[in-house]
């Protein structure tokens, strides 16, 4: 009893001593480094750094160990180029990242630099993010960026985030299954008829328990691409739907036929093995040849299997390709209450435009948005990286120059498409009747989005 107590006391003392040491170290470091460091011409751009005062920033991001390591190296490079600036990394996995951020924002204690995902608008609405527009052109250079990427983080004419990496939807395939079935992997100019033929042919040759294709009828991205290939649109800037019942009937009928032919994964198998995660998808397990997925997943998933994985575009139709141009996966944003907005802006530019930083960061957040960084990376790419770069470039070249607008209540649309698929898949409704209901519900969703 007494022993444990004294042990605990000594541990406590130790902890206090240790933390005290840590503080001392920090202070002495800072004291030593800031006067010794002459303000460089670059640092002079920011008044706080120029005055010799030290700038302390915090940066939060999520990711896995590879991204943590690369980002820290980039931060160290920035610190060595900008004496007096210290950036404290705060990184974690994705679990709980947004919860922690919400708590910090509520307490007025959020990091100066925040990695943000597709939910950037939510934080713009909370007034939590810094308007970066004043720094564009002078500090943050976006000339090399696809205009769509800049638009995606612009709200009411103000820029709130800079894209760190682009991503694109894709059909991910397992080449081993194509080889096994003796069917060649389709090229970039394939059509929906080709897809149907390939799927039926492969499923016959692969035999029981293996399938050519996941059932994509409930995938809103796939549906949008299909509509584009037939000269229609799921949704547009005017806030209306741009397809007719006939188009939706054709789409669901297409998949009903494939289902009837046994060419797609049956509903029960698909529910048990959803293609959304590496640990459940049957494409990684080598039982299904094709699924829809995001291109950035390729490298991570490739590590989990000995089969070769690859990326295909969605098929084309009479109106050409319906592919959506590559979109931003993640943004770097700044906290609205940061004390050093100039330094923050400078770091943001550094992350996306500095060639050295670009090489360090690689594709740890998707394919870099700036063309010159992509060129610098191509030299050191692994075959999987190269496949991803090639795919993104291919999509960028192929995608029609349309202004893509995401459906406003995408999650609800997804749920609705799933329900429609199930009604048809389990023979509860005919395609025609199910699509009638689908159209009514889509119009309700659109009305709801307008009311918001």
């Amino acid at each position: 009893m007494i022993k444990t107590k004294s042990a605990a006391v000594s541990m406590l003392t130790l902890a206090i001593l240790l933390s005290a040491c840590g503080n001392n170290n920090n202070n002495s470091n800072a004291g030593a480094s800031s006067p010794a460091a002459p303000a460089s011409s670059q640092a002079a751009a920011s008044p706080s750094a120029a005055s010799g005062e030290k700038v302390e920033l915090r940066m939060a991001w999520w990711g896995s160990d590879e991204r943590h390591e690369k980002t820290q190296k980039a931060i160290e490079l920035f610190e060595s180029k900008n004496p007096g600036v210290t950036i404290t990394p705060e990184y974690s996995g994705f679990d709980g990242y947004m919860d922690k951020l919400n708590t910090q924002i509520a307490a007025g204690n959020a990091p100066d630099l925040i990695q943000m995902g597709g939910n950037i608008k939510e934080y713009v609405d909370k007034n939590a993010l810094l308007d970066l527009t004043p720094y564009v052109g002078s500090t943050i250079k976006l000339d090399d960026f696809n205009q769509g990427l800049v638009q995606s983080a612009t709200f009411d004419g103000k820029l709130y985030g800079v894209t760190l990496g682009v991503n694109s939807t894709s059909l991910m395939y397992n080449k081993a299954l194509f080889d096994k079935a003796g069917v060649p992997v389709p090229g970039k100019d394939w059509t929906y008829d080709d897809l149907k033929n390939v799927a039926i042919q492969m499923s016959e040759k692969l035999g029981k328990g293996n399938y050519a294709l996941y059932d994509l009828s409930s995938d809103s991205g796939a549906f949008a691409s299909y509509l584009g290939a037939y000269g229609k649109k799921l949704y547009d800037t005017d806030g209306e739907r741009h397809f007719e019942k006939e188009d939706a009937v054709n789409w669901f009928k297409y998949w009903a036929d494939l289902r009837a032919a046994g060419a797609v994964v049956p509903a029960d198998v698909q529910v048990a093995n959803p293609p959304t995660a590496a640990d459940t998808t049957l494409v990684v397990k080598g039982q299904v040849a094709i699924q829809a997925g995001s291109a950035s997943q390729l490298a991570g998933w490739q590590q989990l299997t000995q089969d070769t994985l690859g990326l295909l575009m969605f098929p084309s139709g009479p109106a050409g390709s319906g592919m959506v141009p590559p979109l931003s996966g993640q943004y770097i944003t700044a906290y609205a209450d940061t004390k050093h907005p100039e330094v923050v802006a400078k770091f943001i530019d550094f992350m996306v435009n500095d060639p050295e930083a670009g090489v360090i960061l690689g594709n740890s957040r998707g394919v870099p948005p700036a063309g010159k960084i992509r060129d610098a990376l191509a030299a050191q790419a692994t075959p999987v990286d190269q496949a991803m770069y090639d795919y993104i470039s291919l999509v960028a070249d192929t995608a029609p120059p349309v202004n893509y607008v995401q459906f406003p209540v995408d999650n609800e649309l997804l749920a609705l498409m799933k329900l429609t698929t199930e009604k048809i898949g389990f023979n509860a409704k005919s395609v025609d009747a199910a699509v009638d209901e689908f159209m009514t519900e889509v119009d309700k969703l659109i009305a709801k989005s307008k009311a918001q």
Partner: protein, 281 residues
Amino acid sequence: MTLSMNKQIKSVIFHVIVLGCGLLMLYPVFWLISASVKPTTEIFTSKSLWPSAFTFEHYSSGWTGMRNIQFGDFFLNSILLCIIAVIGTVLSSSMAAFAFARIEFPLRKLFFALMLGTFMLPGHVTLIPQYIIFHKLGWVDTFLPLTVPKFLGDAFFVFLIVQFIRGIPRDLDESAKIDGCGWTTLFFRIILPLSSPALITAAIFTFMGTWDDFFGQLIYLSDIKKFTVPLGLRLFLDSSGSSNWGAVFAMSVLSIVPSLTIFFLGQKYFTQGIATTGIKG
């Protein structure tokens, strides 16, 4: 003869079923251990629990693979947190429980009800106000928000120990008082030793709760050097990109060892604590 034969057959069937259920429940644990020694390409592709080749690469990459930090540091941080939390909770909760169970003081019932009220309050409600308080105190990114509150008692354990102390005969108190014991001696010499099953239960619960707590530690700790095991495990996972699954599984296997050890060490008292508080309460 036939009767005992029957009995034996029944017992065999019973054991087979129980054993089967046990194995079934242990399957996820076996899977975890097996995944931690499989080559990465086999983790999700092979159905067999027996890997084609054993590799301990995940253990070494998980333990040392991070920049500037080793997984061992996360273990030390977690262990330190747990020790402080256990001492704090057991000490403060038992003292509060003793007061509620034995000492007559004004408004005792009201305070008891208020205390019970605090543990009905969902944690999410208090999360942000608490964070703001700790932020104003300058305690964010230290161990203080995770340890200091433990020294202020935990409503559930206070309740648990109160129920236990109520089961200890008051005659003992009285004889101790006759022998000249004050409240302090009575508490430390008589009540505390007698309620050890309840204290050990509280200690084990606190240990496990702190060891597995992810959210609290996530919110308050930002510096990687202060990270604990649950935070360290999540460092390998990125749901929107690539994850180092092998390392996650390997480190998960290691992270359940302390919980298991503590549980088996205290198991005897643990069940005793729950059972006796149940009956005598």
